[in-house]
């Protein structure tokens, strides 16, 4: 029968009204139950869910709701009769079978759990879920043996050796049986490669004494999945170079798969700042770049160069950067960044002439600030090499605060103490980074009590320190200290020499120098020397001596700015506050 337009409209309107009303009528008891559950009225919600189930015994959503609300009421086992009716009405529903299993678990009936799982497996013979749920319910009761029984039974019934492998592996990990865990994880990853990340996280925590055996087991496997897992585990266990070697030997020809594997290894090393980890990051990034099209490859090579540079492999960093800086096909920003990084690498490497040439070539394309920064970096390189004249002439009349700070250092290392102090004061407290500013302030404090305007021996000792020759610097400082009165800078220089001895791990020498610096109690350095000596004694477990010294320092120099710090160390020495 064909409907006329007006009649169609009427029918449509009626349908629009009737369908939601009908749905609402069906949904209303469920909605009420949900609402009561959400409000925390669990007893009322349980009654509401039961009323839904009385009308529709096979309603899985209502049964799951009832299970949820019975838990906080501590009455989980009460659901059993309702579950029986639900199973009779809807015997193929997996969620209902799951509820049945958990209900028997709550009732502490392991035999019934087993029977419920077998009943479920009967209607889903190829499914792992019945055994997985059975195991999970057993684990919920802290029953690991029950869980093992569930998984073993499932594996037998399903007739697959890799069935429930991930569950078996997790169980073995919890038992600290790492060999079994790995044996189970391997088929699990082969079936579902996404498990690899979980496995590396889980086995990454394995104690060091168990690691060799696991590596031997992995070594007996000959597929790429095992190699990749071995590489990432080696990286997690502190052998990144071994990890890279393992991976490189097995990398597939397929570029995408190889890049994916290399990236996985890099991910494992992200947070590690050891030299080996940084070096491996550099090498892995270089390998990724070799398999990546431009322009992305250039950016990755720059990252590789930065990792090499941080690892101290300047040769490799320079190799990456030289190519990039000259590569006309590299994006402009990458090329410019690479050239600037290269100058820094060359300076760090001590190749100052070449760095100077590169900087001169680069100058036209650099912003003035960027150029000035690189030039000052080169000045620092010349200072570190001891070529103070080259440094001075390159610095020229740089009037920035950073330039004044550098000029102060050049004066200082020449022994011109007055000139150094004037320039440090002109540079003020904000030149350079925070560490640099702190170091400059410390130098000013060191120079303040020294009366002579010129002291080349002191400049030479401090230059040795700048160049990393700590042992000679320590001897030089002690020598200069002996020529000065303790109250006229002698004690301060001896204190600095003592701190260098601590850095050189020469505690006996440090103790002698600290005691020398504190010998004249009228010297301004005396309280600092006593505090530093107390810390040295604490590090040597000489608690009683440290406590006595700290008490002496606090009582003798009550107005010293170091007293609050000394009190804190005293508290730590006495165990009154945690040592941090």
């Amino acid at each position: 029968m064909a409907l006329r337009p007006a009649s169609s409209l009427l029918w449509f309107t009626l349908l629009c009204w009737a369908i939601p009303a009908l749905a609402a009528a069906q949904q209303e008891p469920m909605s009420r139950a949900f609402d009561l559950e959400r409000r925390g009225e669990y007893a009322a919600a349980a009654a509401a869910y039961r009323s839904v189930l009385a009308a529709r015994p096979g309603d899985a959503a209502a049964l799951l709701g009832l299970e949820r609300v019975l838990l906080p009421l501590n009455r989980s086992a009460d659901i059993i009769p309702t579950v029986r009716s639900a199973l009779a009405a809807n015997p193929l529903s997996a969620p209902i079978h799951g509820v049945a299993l958990r209900a028997w678990a709550a009732a502490d009936q392991p035999d019934s759990m087993r029977a419920a799982a077998e009943r479920w497996a009967g209607v889903a013979p190829n499914d792992e879920a019945p055994y997985r749920e059975w195991g999970a319910a057993a684990l919920g009761r802290q029953d690991r043996a029950g869980a093992l029984e569930a998984y073993t039974r499932g594996r037998q019934k399903l007739g697959r050796t890799d069935a429930l492998a991930a569950e078996m592996a997790q169980l073995a990990t919890a038992e600290s049986d790492y060999l079994t865990a790995l044996r189970e994880w391997l088929p699990a990853i082969r079936k579902l490669p996404g498990y690899r990340v979980t496995v590396v996280a889980a086995l990454g925590q394995v104690p060091a004494n168990s690691q060799p055996e696991l590596l031997r087991m992995l070594g007996r496997e000959d597929d790429f999945i095992a190699r990749r897992l071995e590489a990432e585990l080696r990286a997690r266990w502190g052998d990144p170079l071994g990890g890279l070697r393992t991976l490189e030997a097995a990398l597939p020809v397929d570029r995408t798969a190889a890049v994916d594997a290399l990236s996985g290894l890099i991910d494992q090393l992200r947070g590690q700042r050891t030299q080996a980890a940084l070096l491996v990051q550099g090498r892995a990034l270089e390998a990724v770049a070799a398999r990546t099209p431009e322009p992305r490859a250039s950016r990755i090579r720059l990252q590789a160069a930065q990792a090499y540079s941080a690892a101290g492999d300047r040769e490799a960093a320079r190799r990456m950067l030289t190519g990039l800086a000259l590569d006309r096909s590299a994006p402009g920003a990458v090329s410019s960044d690479a050239a600037a990084t290269l100058v820094s690498v060359l300076v760090d490497e001590g190749k100052l002439e070449e760095a100077g040439r590169r900087l001169a070539d680069l100058a036209p394309s650099l912003a003035a600030d960027e150029y000035g920064e690189l030039r000052r970096r080169l000045v620092q390189g010349w200072i570190r090499s001891g070529e103070l004249s080259r440094a001075d002439s390159l610095l020229g009349a740089d009037s920035t605060v950073e330039g004044l700070a550098l000029a102060g250092r050049i004066r200082l290392y020449r022994g011109d103490l007055r000139g150094a102090v004037e320039r440090f004061q002109a540079a003020g407290p904000y030149a350079g980074d925070r560490a640099e500013a702190t170091r400059r302030t410390a130098l000013l404090a060191l120079l303040q009590p020294i009366e002579p305007d010129s002291l080349p021996a002191l400049g030479a000792a401090l230059l040795q320190l700048e160049r990393g020759d700590t042992a000679d610097a320590m001897r030089g400082l002690e020598g200069v200290a002996q020529t000065l009165e303790p109250t006229a800078g002698g004690a301060e220089l001896q204190l600095l020499a003592a701190k260098l001895a601590v850095a050189l791990r020469k505690p006996a020498e440090a103790e002698r120098l600290f005691r020398g610096a504190a010998a004249d109690q009228t010297a301004a350095a005396a309280p600092a020397a006593e505090l530093a000596l107390a810390q040295l004694l604490l590090d040597q477990q000489r608690q009683a001596e440290a406590v006595a010294l700290l008490e002496h320092m606090i009582l003798t120099f009550p107005e010293s700015a170091l007293v609050p710090q000394a009190r804190r160390v005293l508290d730590q020495a006495r165990g009154a506050v945690p040592r941090t």
Binding site: N74, L555, D571
Partner: protein, 429 residues
């Protein structure tokens, strides 16, 4: 007078008046040291330790209630001056004339001087391997330099409590349910260790279950208070101690703790007359929710019931009529930021009328700090875990009190340590 003699005398005068002189005990003309506890104090917490050690040496001290936020009067001897200088506690030299003036002020206002006579012997109830930095009282005692001894179930069940004046409880779950973390932290090494240790202890003391043993410990603690002990409890020890005491013949423990589920009608069968502070509470029936009852107002571990932190206000009491309550609230701050614990606060509806409220959150249905008497002793409950770590989580870095030397919350703890030192006098009410 010759010029040289004049200069020498002037220098001596300046030295005597200088702070350095007072710190090192040079001010021989001042027989007293006032330890101010207002904002002039440089380390409020260590000031308690300084006073405690004076008592320990056999000297006497006085607590000036409500005078400069609860100052102490100590003898100005060399040992005290040295101790104050080492601890960094600010002191002010007082001569007899100045002291008379202060006593006049104490007479005229809501203030009083309470003599402190004897350093109380302090016990902290904690398992043998409890980490030293996970209990606010232990941290406060360590920082202030107040000696204490650790005791646990064997000492409580024996006669160990008799030798202590003051007992502190903090973490312990006296319902024997391992802080109700059993299901949520299943497998965590610290929980496994805690369960094993408690089960072994219950067995060795001849109890069938941990809840039964913990209830016996709770009863022994109640007897200790009745005989004249001072009890101070924080965090979850407050609520669970009362629940354990009231659960006489009632199973309030989940099945994982004692093998049988909690009695569904437990709330109605509790014997609240045996509890110190609470009554008519409704017990939490879910074994998976780390909440015990509606005693705690904040329910920190129940996401749908958790209440945000506010701040609590200390009450004012009459120093002359109610010196005990006054001692317990001495502070340089009246309003203090709140902090969570497994039990953070105490709902007013579950509080017995006999309990004295020392601090509460105005307008909120809970209080924070309460006190009461039982037999010849007293109990004080302070909700929350760590006053300087308001959102404390398991595994957090320990609080370093040298970074919080003025903590008003920790001061409340130390008020409790020192108040048993006060000479008892007959109260007017």
């Amino acid at each position: 007078m010759k010029r040289r003699e004049f200069v020498a005398r002037a220098c001596a005068g300046v030295a005597a008046l200088s702070p350095l002189g007072s710190r090192l005990g040079w001010a021989a003309s001042a027989p007293w040291l006032l330890v101010p506890m207002d904002d002039a104090q440089s380390d409020h917490l260590k000031a308690y330790g300084l006073t405690y050690r004076v008592l320990q040496r056999g000297d006497r001290a006085e607590w000036f209630l409500n005078y400069r936020s609860g100052s102490f009067l100590l003898p100005s001897d060399a040992a005290t001056a040295r101790d104050a200088a080492l601890a960094g506690v600010a002191t002010e030299p007082l001569n007899d004339g100045q002291l008379v003036q202060i006593r006049g002020q104490l007479q005229g206002g809501n203030m009083d001087a309470v003599p402190l006579e004897k350093a109380p012997k302090v016990a902290v109830y904690a398992p043998p391997n409890a980490p030293p930095w996970d209990d606010a009282v232990t941290m406060a005692l360590n920082y202030a330099g107040i000696k204490f001894e650790k005791i646990w179930d064997p000492e409580v069940m024996g006669s160990g409590l008799k030798s202590y004046d003051w007992l502190h409880l903090h973490h312990e779950d006296f319902t024997g349910q391992y802080s109700k973390f059993f299901l949520n932290y299943a497998g965590a090494p610290w929980l496994v260790e805690m369960v094993d240790r408690n089960r072994a202890m219950a067995r060795s003391l001849g109890f069938p279950t941990v809840p039964a043993e913990k209830r016996a410990v709770a009863v022994a603690i109640a007897r200790y208070v009745e005989r004249g002990g001072f009890l101070f409890a924080m965090c979850t020890a407050t609520e669970t101690l009362d629940l354990a005491l009231a659960a006489d013949g009632v199973d309030i423990a989940a099945s994982y703790a004692d093998g049988s589920p909690m009695a569904p009608d437990a709330s109605g069968r509790m014997r609240w007359d045996e509890a110190f502070a609470f009554h008519n509470a409704r017990l939490e029936l879910s074994p998976t929710t780390p909440v015990y009852s509606d005693i705690d107002g904040h329910q920190v571990n129940s996401p749908d019931r958790r209440q945000p932190l506010g701040s609590f206000t200390l009450f004012n009491f009459s120093a002359k009529i109610d010196p005990v309550a006054t001692m317990l609230v001495q502070n340089h701050r009246q309003v203090i930021p709140d902090f969570y614990g497994l039990t953070t606060s105490f709902t007013r509806k579950t509080l017995k009328p006999s309990a004295t409220v020392l601090g509460d959150e105005p307008g909120a249905p809970w209080v924070k700090y309460i006190h009461g008497e039982r037999g010849q002793g007293t109990w004080t409950y302070f909700g929350g875990h760590d006053p300087e770590d308001p959102q404390h989580q398991i595994g957090d870095v320990p609080t370093d009190l040298s970074l919080h030397p003025h903590s008003p919350g920790y001061r409340l703890i130390l008020n409790n340590v020192l108040f048993p030192a006060a000479k008892k006098k007959e109260l007017k009410t």
